[in-house]
């Protein structure tokens, strides 16, 4: 039984400035199951972070605009919530880990204070300060930092440790959903491994659902149950980790992504990258957005926006599969 905790339907987001309109997220839909991890993969500018921020209504207010769609948390549409209501969800039901631990902690507050705050904003009536402080200690030990250090300031921690603090803040209220926006990109490999395994363990033990946003297929392979691949604001391929990593049918872009990564196992003289660049997000094209770069592009690709090809849990948005639905293995 699929127990959905978050469902996003037909979400489109635009950034409007004086000069131009950027179509950042275009009609994406996905859902998150209880206790599962959804990986959203894409390159810079694919709209991953925009989608994630919209879930917490953290998009910059003046210039961003949700054109359509809904984000359902249980039966509530987050987009319709008032400021007060959304504040009750932020950090409490849905928490977020940001990419750069160097800048996402307030430099003039102790880390203990910053974790305490997260608890304080969502405290139950009657919760005492001591209880909350105790919880701060708990959370700190959970992420592998000695509670002795809660009086320290962020600058006294290394990058990896800071990211642990950020995670501690996110997990303080035991949220149902954790959104991790490239949590390890800024870290070194060995630290990345530490942090990733820690996130995995915590997620398991807390049974939290997670959205992992990353550009690294390796990270996805390590952590995710479901994967969504994003290109130019659209989800072009979604499925379980098995669908993405083991199936033979892929969107040509996904293939290109895999082809771009030097494989540690196999030696190859040349890589097979995708030629060209991501299209200008200020321009809407009628057809497939990948058509310009696609080695397998057909005439129809340029003219018609592809429909989704569904095969079990595996969905691909590509004309290649429209006809040959049945002929596949």
């Amino acid at each position: 039984m699929r127990d959905l905790v978050l469902e996003i339907k037909n979400l489109s987001i635009r950034y409007k400035t004086d000069l131009e309109t950027v179509y950042a997220v275009n009609n994406i839909s996905f859902s998150l199951e209880k206790g599962q991890t959804l990986g959203i993969v894409g390159e810079t500018g694919a709209g991953k972070t925009t989608a994630a921020l919209s879930i917490l209504k953290l998009l910059p207010e003046r210039i961003s605009q949700v054109a359509e769609g809904e984000i359902l948390l249980g039966d509530k549409d987050i987009l319709q919530l008032s400021d007060v209501e959304i504040r009750k969800i932020r950090g409490n039901k849905i928490a977020m880990i940001f990419q750069d631990p160097m800048t996402s902690l307030n430099p003039v507050m102790t880390i203990g204070e910053q974790i305490y705050e997260a608890l304080f904003f969502h405290k139950h009536v009657g919760a005492r300060r001591e209880d909350l402080e105790k919880r701060v200690d708990e959370v700190l030990s959970l992420v592998g930092i000695s509670p002795m250090r809660k009086g320290d300031y962020p600058h006294q921690f290394s990058g990896g440790m800071k990211q642990r603090v950020v995670i501690a803040i996110a997990l303080a209220c035991e949220p149902e959903i954790l959104i991790a926006d490239e949590p390890t990109t800024a870290l070194d490999v060995t630290i990345q491994a530490q942090v990733l395994s820690m996130i995995n363990e915590l997620q398991m033990s807390l049974n939290t659902s997670m959205i992992m946003i990353t550009h690294d297929l390796g990270v996805v392979a390590k952590t995710c149950d479901d994967v969504a691949i994003m290109y130019a604001g659209e989800l072009i391929e979604t499925g379980t980790a098995g669908d993405i990593f083991c199936s033979k049918q892929h969107h040509p872009y996904t293939e290109g992504l895999f082809g771009s990564i030097p494989n540690l196992k196999v030696e190859a003289r040349r890589l097979n990258p995708i030629p060209g660049l991501m299209p200008d997000p200020t321009i809407i094209v009628p057809g497939c957005k990948f058509a310009q770069r696609c080695p397998k592009a057909m005439d129809v690709c340029i003219k018609v926006h592809p429909q989704e090809f569904v095969r079990g849990s595996h969905r691909i948005k590509c004309h290649l599969f429209q006809k040959g639905r049945d002929t596949d293995e």
Partner: protein, 316 residues
């Protein structure tokens, strides 16, 4: 931390020496000599020569400077005013509190008015709370202090006599000078506080705070303001110095016996000890204020505190 404080205090010494040398040099090339200043049009050339000799003014420049330093440092004697025959120190003692008062009041006006409104207008960006103070600030920042002083005097002591135009007999006397000095700086600080706050609101950690579910007012007053305060404090510190020096015109206009007007008269009268003493004291105060600003940094920002505490500075 204490070592840093000590080091910073020590740094004031070479700066003060430098200041004294520059001022002494400038005063030395100013035309005229002390004796003619003292005598006015009376007296004969012999008198002039005699007085200049008594004052040691006939000696070479560097000897005079060395003598000045020796007296100032070893004997704690800043010399005697040519105009008044009183010691420079007694003059400074008398005028310093006045200057400090006027400056402090102005700075208080500048900060109390400028900073909160600046923060508010950043928070309410694009609203009337932003537009109106910003435009007003633009105007006030462009007004010369002496002109503002004249206008205030025209309106508030001439047309509607509420405040006295001169003197500092009561607290009322401080109102107009402090306003005329403070308002342009308030405008400047408003603009600065606003942009600093806007800058801070854009930071990642503000987003983190929002993601925690922090209410708007906590984000602004707890998370943003403390960070935004750093550059604001810098500008307040710099402004203190500017107000202290800029008070010259205001002091002259409102006939306030402050250090600034003392130095101006000194410059006009070629009263070298007076000018030296005044500027040295003013520059020491400026240096001290910058020191306080540095300490305030440490108070607000633990990173800076850590930097200070780490002791010895890098050799390179």
């Amino acid at each position: 931390m204490w070592r840093y404080l000590f080091r910073r205090c020590l740094l004031i010494i070479p700066i003060t020496l430098g200041v004294s040398f520059i001022v002494f040099s400038i005063m030395a090339i100013t035309p005229g000599d002390p004796a003619t200043m003292i005598l006015g049009i009376g007296g004969t050339q012999e008198d002039i020569d005699r007085i200049n000799q008594e004052l040691g003014y006939d000696r070479p420049f560097l000897v005079r400077y060395g003598d000045y330093l020796y007296k100032a440092v070893v004997k704690h004697d800043l010399g005697t005013s040519y105009q008044f025959k009183t010691t420079v120190w007694s003059n400074i003692k008398q005028r310093l509190p006045v200057s400090v008062k006027v400056t402090t009041f102005s700075l208080l006006i500048a900060s109390m008015v400028g900073v909160p409104i600046g923060v508010l207008s950043a928070v309410k960006q694009y609203s009337l709370f932003d537009t109106f103070p910003t435009v007003l600030a633009l105007f006030f920042a462009a007004i010369p202090t002496f002109w503002l002083g004249m206008m205030l005097m025209l309106v508030l002591s001439l047309k509607i006599p509420i405040f006295p135009a001169t003197g500092i007999a009561s607290w009322k006397g401080y109102v107009l000078p402090s306003l005329s000095l403070g308002l342009p700086f308030a405008a400047q600080q408003l603009r600065f506080a606003r942009s600093s706050m806007l800058e801070t609101i854009r930071q990642d950690y503000i987003r983190t705070a929002k993601a925690k579910g922090a209410p708007e007012n906590i984000i602004i007053w707890k998370h943003a303001l403390k960070n935004a305060l750093m550059p604001i404090i810098t500008i307040i510190g710099i402004n203190f110095g500017l107000i202290l020096g800029g008070a010259v015109a205001t002091e002259t206009l409102f006939s306030i016996p402050g250090l600034g007007s003392m130095v101006v008269t000194g410059i006009k009268m070629k009263d070298i000890p007076m000018v030296m003493g005044g500027i040295i004291v003013l520059s020491i105060i400026c240096s001290l204020i910058m020191l306080i600003v540095d300490l305030l940094y440490a108070l607000i920002d633990p990173r800076i505190k850590a930097k200070y505490s780490r002791g010895r500075r890098a050799a390179i």
